[in-house]
Symmetry: C2
Subunit: 280 residues, 2 copies
Amino acid sequence: MCPSPVPDGVDRGWIIPIGGGEEKESNPQILKRFVDLCGGDAADIVVLPTASRLVETGERYEALFSGLGAARVTTIDFDTRRDCNEPSRLERIAQASGIFMTGGNQLRLSTIVGGTPVAKLIRLRNAEGVHVAGTSAGASFISEHMIAFGEEGPTAVAGGVRLAPGLGLTNRFIIDQHFRERDRMGRLMTALAYNPFAVGLGLDEDTAAFIGPDNVLEVEGSGGITVLDASDISFTSMDVVDEGQPVSMLGLVLHQLVAGNTFHLSTRQASAGRLARQKR
Amino acid sequence: MCPSPVPDGVDRGWIIPIGGGEEKESNPQILKRFVDLCGGDAADIVVLPTASRLVETGERYEALFSGLGAARVTTIDFDTRRDCNEPSRLERIAQASGIFMTGGNQLRLSTIVGGTPVAKLIRLRNAEGVHVAGTSAGASFISEHMIAFGEEGPTAVAGGVRLAPGLGLTNRFIIDQHFRERDRMGRLMTALAYNPFAVGLGLDEDTAAFIGPDNVLEVEGSGGITVLDASDISFTSMDVVDEGQPVSMLGLVLHQLVAGNTFHLSTRQASAGRLARQKR
């Protein structure tokens, strides 16, 4: 579904996809910035471990966010679609200043949470100013068009990616995660070749896109973010190629961003950001 | 992208997906109703034959709409993404009271028109009251989540469908066409299993969904429309099944609609509509 309308006079909450494998011990800069954004020692965070089948996933993030100073952290399990209609769990989400979705399998999120009151509430609260982060599968689920799975490799191949509807906090980009580590350039390009309207964001591990209410994305973390802008391509053969064959795409714009760089999702302008200031 | 916001005091234009193979000679009730909706003898219709590779496709619909009394009918070719930036063609679309997208291959529409000024203009004009119809591939392209292709058969099979981003006039449903003729129940169910938020509309040939600004759909034509409402399913195994294996989905609601029946896309209520009145 489309994002909830942002009420007058309110700033939409930040949207923070993380590429998975974020540093948790020595220098947890991404998780720290998320806690600070949510209010620091006043932060009230709910952790949704739905994507994961591991019992300890929620508890682990609870301990991490508490250790980083959050006032209140609660893991809420949604393991069935029935869970997603349970008033007390919805009420707890409605209190939070930040919502965090763990990694696992993004199809668990879309099949269990999709179309339920939980999905609607997260969109509503984000429009009202609550920050929403997701790592790995949790990052993929954030956008309207979600990469469910696909093939490894650096080039676009027909049939190399499978899309599914996601949560829909935004429709400006399509996310892929573990980008460098799992060699996913090709599948992100294939996703864009279907319909070049969206921006592709390939997030390396331990790397996050902090996207403000002004739709400016700033990179945080130790890896890179590959931005693929297909809006000005002059041609793609996606409509005529056979499964398994390479896809022609002419005129993609690619930005490789690192920590401090920014990308404006409305104007599609990349900028050196605080990196340029550091060089002076 | 999301639908353009409807301006205050304006009714959104009708959205009319057609299942392909609509009757053109003896009783062209669907095309006739479209022309009447667009103003009858004042109708100004543009035909977009982009999905088709046949030269005569646009001309054929031009003759049909003129024969049904439309005042002005123009075929506009968009065969490249560059064409979609051409001011005079955009200007012509902006004048029309109705926009008609022909059949062919929906990936030609999404790859050529997606993300261009033409796509934005069609969304804008629909929000401002212009009616938009599409048949076959043109119908599939209408919605935000588009079935690009998939497998035949009556049951949901993992990997049996491939989704791509469409035009985005609405995000309330996912369309499939030639539904009975090409045995597409399974692939529509598979699409819904990914994320049950949307309503599935399976359109038989010579059958159209006339969807008004109130989001009430009325069936027109000689076939049926299968409505699949997955929003209350209690379970799906889509996140764990292997490619090619059957998918578990519990609690789908199915409506088989024929001409005169209605379905409210907001409340998800089906009604006998004018069929009930005829029985009295």
